[in-house]
Subunit: 230 residues, 2 copies
């Protein structure tokens, strides 16, 4: 039976949410059949009886699950093949990775991306996005991103532990990618869907890992329009 | 058969090396019988035919293994019970943790501890330690540590991803400790064997995790003389 994945898209139809990307990778990792249902921010309250406020949301037969961690756990509990988490200890370490990545990279990527996100949304989503995010950052999106280049040195420096890990292995998960790879790849795919400012340097070894990650599962992450490195 | 673990000790006989601590925890984690053989820095070349330059070194019957990662892998390959690493993916994520911890915490702990390490060594080790470490830091140990308090704000701030992870679970490994816990506990036990400057604040939630870690395996980490928090 095909699982339906509701995913945020840009006006051009490009997948947008870093959290949905995790689940696209997780579904492909497990070899499960799925299709995607494109939605905009303002469509989310119309889905599944309005019970969820964010995507990803999956519908698997009569079951609806929201939240990327809840979905990953549901998929492992329901479908035994190709576990997303080999053990509770691996899951705990990926949680550590997520917490680290949020502060080290995700916050900076959000600050770099936020006006570009707005500019790439469907017209019906723009007002909602501007209003909620300007409240969050305390100023206009234009003012907040005016000096966004200044965030890049910190962002690049902060990624060092990923470079150290990837110096001796192709993926954060080792020889094979794991959910830590999917978390980080999702954030870069979000960026690459819309960010008009390349965030990495050309000679950053992370570019090789990104290409390997985008090539996974038949090229699941290929074709994003904006280059990540320049 | 009892495994012999060669471990660095202070003049007072307190275990010293953060890398040996990992293996003490790993041996206890697996439930293996072991004893410890105290050595000083200048004894290491006299062990096992002089083939190794650092501890930990284990002797398991006719087999000698040096280096904490090599020993952990040897133990898992040789003794199937209670795996240190549940899967290659968990091992890869712990490697990521180690790389992060080295930059975020270990470097700062070394810089805070280095003169205290010297002062706690056996007299025969002091000259060797001063000479090699002063070459490494490019000045006298006294000059290098003169303003060591200034490193504490960064050290404490850098530990945030551990606090995030431990907000919802007792150990970095989840419900049970894993090798990431042992890596970090080892660094704090090294500090607590000799550091005359408390490195953490009293209300740091990491103190609870440290006490849980020191209590493991019959209190393997209990009794270190210097308080970590003040």
């Amino acid at each position: 039976m095909t699982i339906h994945l509701h995913e945020l898209v840009t006006e051009a139809g490009r997948p947008l949410s870093p959290f949905v990307w995790r689940i696209k990778y997780a579904l492909a990792h497990k070899g499960l059949d799925f299709d995607t249902r494109p939605v905009g921010f303002t469509d989310i309250p119309k889905l599944c009886g309005g019970q969820h406020k964010t995507v990803p949301i999956i519908e698997d037969g009569a079951t609806t699950v929201c939240d990327s961690w809840a979905i990953a756990d549901y998929l492992d509990a329901t479908y035994k093949q190709n576990p997303i988490f080999s053990s509770p200890a691996e899951r705990a370490m990926v949680k550590f990775f997520e917490g680290w990545f949020f502060d080290a990279a995700f916050r900076n990527l959000f600050a770099v991306n936020v006006l570009d996100i707005h500019n790439h949304l469907r017209p019906t989503d723009k007002a909602y996005f501007r209003q909620t995010r300007e409240k969050q950052v305390g100023t206009t999106l234009e003012a907040f991103t005016a000096n966004r280049e200044a965030r890049l040195p910190d962002l690049r420096k902060n990624l060092k532990p990923m470079r150290v890990a990837l110096a001796n292995q192709p993926f954060l998960g080792g020889d094979k990618p794991n959910y830590a790879d999917y978390i980080a790849l999702g954030a870069f795919l979000w960026t690459s869907a819309l960010c008009t400012l390349p965030v990495l340097e050309k000679d950053d070894m992370l570019n090789g890992w990104l290409q390997r990650g985008f090539d996974l599962y038949g090229g699941i992450g290929r074709g994003a329009p904006y280059p990540l490195a320049a």
